[in-house]
Every structure is written in C-alpha cells, then in structure tokens.
Symmetry: C2
Subunit: 318 residues, 2 copies
Amino acid sequence: MTEEKSVAQSLLVVGSIAFDTIRTPYGEAPEVLGGSATYFSVAASFFAPVRLVGVVGEDFPPEYRRVLESRRVDTAGLQVVPGGKTFRWRGSYHGAMNEAKTEDVQLNVFGDFRPAIPEAWRDTSLVFLANGSPVTQAAVLDQVRKPDLVVADTMNLWIDTQRDALLELMRRVDGLVLNDGEARMLSGEHNLIAAAHEIVGLGPKFVVIKKGEHGSVLVCHCGPRVGRIASDLICPLPGYPSLKVFDPTGAGDSFAGGMMGYLASKGQYDFRDLVRAMAYGTVTASFTIEDFSVRRLERLTVEEIEGRLQMYRGMLEF
Amino acid sequence: MTEEKSVAQSLLVVGSIAFDTIRTPYGEAPEVLGGSATYFSVAASFFAPVRLVGVVGEDFPPEYRRVLESRRVDTAGLQVVPGGKTFRWRGSYHGAMNEAKTEDVQLNVFGDFRPAIPEAWRDTSLVFLANGSPVTQAAVLDQVRKPDLVVADTMNLWIDTQRDALLELMRRVDGLVLNDGEARMLSGEHNLIAAAHEIVGLGPKFVVIKKGEHGSVLVCHCGPRVGRIASDLICPLPGYPSLKVFDPTGAGDSFAGGMMGYLASKGQYDFRDLVRAMAYGTVTASFTIEDFSVRRLERLTVEEIEGRLQMYRGMLEF
C-alpha cells in the first residue's frame, strides 16, 4: 500500500473521565482510570496529538494525569473542580461479556460539566463529541470554528430523554458513532443497514454502527439521494478475532479514538479513508480489551498496531 | 485475481427436503420447497454439479422436482416413499428476524430416513452432511470411499441428545459448520474464537461458525499444535449488508452450499480456498434471503453472484 503524504490535523475530544470499578470473570479492578474521553485520547494518541477537554475532581491522582500527558494528550482543557470528586462508575461483566451490568454511577463533577474549549483550540480540525447529553455536545460546537470533521457518539439515555436535542445535533455533525441497540432505537428499524440509512437521512454524512465482537458497519451518504440505497456507500467490517476478552470496557471509545486518530493523521475523509480508519479503530480496540483500563494501551506500540492491522487486512483477502 | 486451472470435483449432499410454511413480517408462504439439502443443492449448483440424497413422500410435486433437476442437481438419490408424506416445517419470524419460531414439525418420511448412497456415487470427492442425527450422518460416511473433503452441519438437538455420537462423527469429518449458539453449546466456551479452537481440538481440521447477519468465522487447524493459537489460522468475514431480509430460512444451508460448491469447482482446500469459499457462501446466502424458499436462487445468475462478490471484496479493501 502506498501512503500519500499527509499532515496531521488537530484533534479535539470532549467527554468523560472516570474512576471505573470493574469486575469480570478474570478479575477485579478498583477505581482504575476510565471514561470515554480517556479511552478515546489514549487510543487516538498513537496516530495524532490529542486535545482533551473534560472534568475531574481534586481526587484525580497525578499518576492518572501522567498516563495522559506521557502520551500525546494535551490536558490544557482538563478542568479540576476544587473540592470536587471525579465521576465514578462501577460495573461487571458476565457470561459472554457482551454487555456491562452497571452497578453504581456517581456523576459527581461530571454532573455539572460545562465544557470550556480553550481559545487556542477553537480552530481544531477534527472534533469528537464523546457520549454526553446532546445539549452539552452542542455547547461544544458553539465554541469551535468550522472544523473539517465533527463526529459524535450518543447513547440510549439521550435517544430516550433528549431526542429533539439529539436530532438537532445530528444536523450539525458529519458523522455519528453508536452501537447496534442504539441505532435500532434511534431509527426504529430492526435491520441495521436500514437503520443506518435512516440515520444518515437525519443529517450526518456517515454513521458507524458498532456491534461489539461482531465488528462494525459504515454507511456513508456520498452523493445525491436517489432512493435510499443507490447513493449510499456501505462497508461492514468484522470484529478482530480475540481469543480472550479480558475486559471490554472502553472498546467502543478506543475504536472511535483509533478511527479519529487515523483520520487526523491522514487529513482526508473520503469513504476509503473512513474504512481504513474503522480498521485502525477495530485493531486498536482489540488491544484495549486485553487488560483493565488503558493498561494494554500504555504498553502498546505503533508497531504492534501496524502488525495487527496487517494480519487483519490479510484475513480479509480472498 | 488470477484463477488457476481447475477441474470440478463431484459433490454429494445428504439432508432434508421439506415443505415449509413460513410467516415473516413481509408475507406468508404455504408449503413451499425447503429443507437443508434443497437450499444446499440449489446454492451449490451455481458452482458445480450436485448429487442429492434425500427422502420425500408421494406428495412431492413434479414442479418441486423440476426446480432441482432444471439446475445441475442430480436426483438419482432421491427416495420417494410410496404412500408417505414429505417432511413439513412451519415457522415464523418476528422483530429482528434473527431466529425462527418453530410452530409445527411433522417429520413424516424424514423420521425414518436411512440414506442410501447410489453405488455410482460412492467415490464422490466432496461430501456435505447437512443437519441430521450424527448416527445417520455416520451411516453416510460408512457408504462412501475416501472422499477428499467431508463437512458436516449439526444442531442443538444432537449436541444435547447425541453428544457421544456427534463427538465420534467429528473425528471422521474434515470440517464442521454450525451456528454461534451451537458452537458455544458444543464447546462450553462463551467466546466464539475460543469455542472454535476447542472444536478443532475435537477432530475436524476446520470449523466455520455462522453468525447470521454478523457473518461467519473460520478457524483452521493447519499445522502442528503448539499451544492452541499459534498453529490455527483464523478468518472472520462480515455478513453481506442486506437492507431487507425478506425470509432468512435456508441462509445457513445456502451459505454451506455456496461454500462447498466453490470448493468443488476449485478442487483445492487450502486455507485461502476456504476463505474464498466462505465469501461465495456469504454472497449466495445474501440472495436466498431476498425471497421465500429458493425463489431468488431460481432466477439468480452466476453473473449476479460474481458481481456481488466483487462488491463484497471491494468493501473489505482498506
């Protein structure tokens, strides 16, 4: 494969930073570093520098900050609330480990999170709005100037409780990333491909539906709308075949981080770029799930990512 | 892609032939042609001639026989039981249509099916044992001489009620094709890749796990066993992205038919051949689900299969 010359674009993420307490069939991890923006940032940092906007309490320890800062994650947008406590999530996985069972949530400082984008970051080229209320996500877009690419994540809660705000947000983003259950809920369609077509009809140029171990599917509206199929490009990718899922927490955010990080490094956002970005996201997430928190990513190298991408690509040649 | 010169090998299938009565959100079809061997044969016939062994009652109409014979399906092994009634299945699909709800089963002549392989067919190169009791499947193997490739399907019922016979059969086959729930049940492993590794440890050289809309995964034991990963080759393929699943009945058998038909046409069974065979199986099945019974396959052309395969291959290039 030949790579065109490219200049890495700036990449901003706004989302949660958390202390996760996790139990899986393989072990337990108390108050480890988690949160959507954390997984996203660390995953994306393998491809491009990342600007992180989030909020933590005074209890956020220096060693967790170092995990971010020792990579290419700029924490100038990290608010520390004096006397505040960091967001806490407690959950467990059972059986096939496809879904987390949430046991406790303490929003703490994240409950009142009002993202403030530092002035120097308002011209960021790529923006990722990690899962959060669509009102908060929109407030981020109000603060940035004409980014090249805006991608948002969302979840059942917002589809259910803030549908109008979400629909309004969807007209302001280029891409939406969400899981299969959420895509069905948002679109009212059982068939995921039909759901994806519905979703690109609501505003975004593309949607990526994450299916956990089953991979992901991209539907990209790339052309004049003639019927609802002809002008849409579709790409399904399988999950990377993992023999052991140690802890699936953060897989989706790592996928998005690898995807957006690759796009930032590439500086181009055509269909083929999106597909390759999904492949990098898939592979990056496949490392995340090999250990608790971002531990596997902390000891991961770019060479390992490239090596696994080559294997993954090789699997799909026939 | 360059194709090596090849000679089509003979392909035998033994399985059920049925009258299906199906209800889906899109319509109803009473007593249409169905059964595992039917779907398999018609799908495989696009790639190679097929030898069909099965049983029907006197009520099996000439027009159903013509569906088979008008293709390259040799029905010399089709037993007609005088005064007997053909196997009947009635089922419906709801919601996401991932699983059939069986409403009625009348085994009729299939309940006493004793496959008899015509003498002229006992040297068949490729044998597919469609879903059936492992005792019946073994009885087929007792009648054929050293086939190059034997692949079997199975189901929950046999894993549950005839596990020992199934384990014995697995030591006599080259490949096993089964769905994800069955693979978990047979292996006791939640993780599908781990399940596949366990299954190839039970005898077959390879296993293909079918995941419905999520595609399939191949695990091939190809080399000396050093640990359980190093020597196993793995390939996950996504499902073909179908906007509308009209009737999923027969998708799995069409997948197997496309796969085995391609292998018969190729006459080689290396890992890469298996992967390409899975891709053909995926694409062939994606047509089956566009209409009831084998109706879509009846009006399908080889050119359409090739066209969709090219699209599918193109999707997976990154």
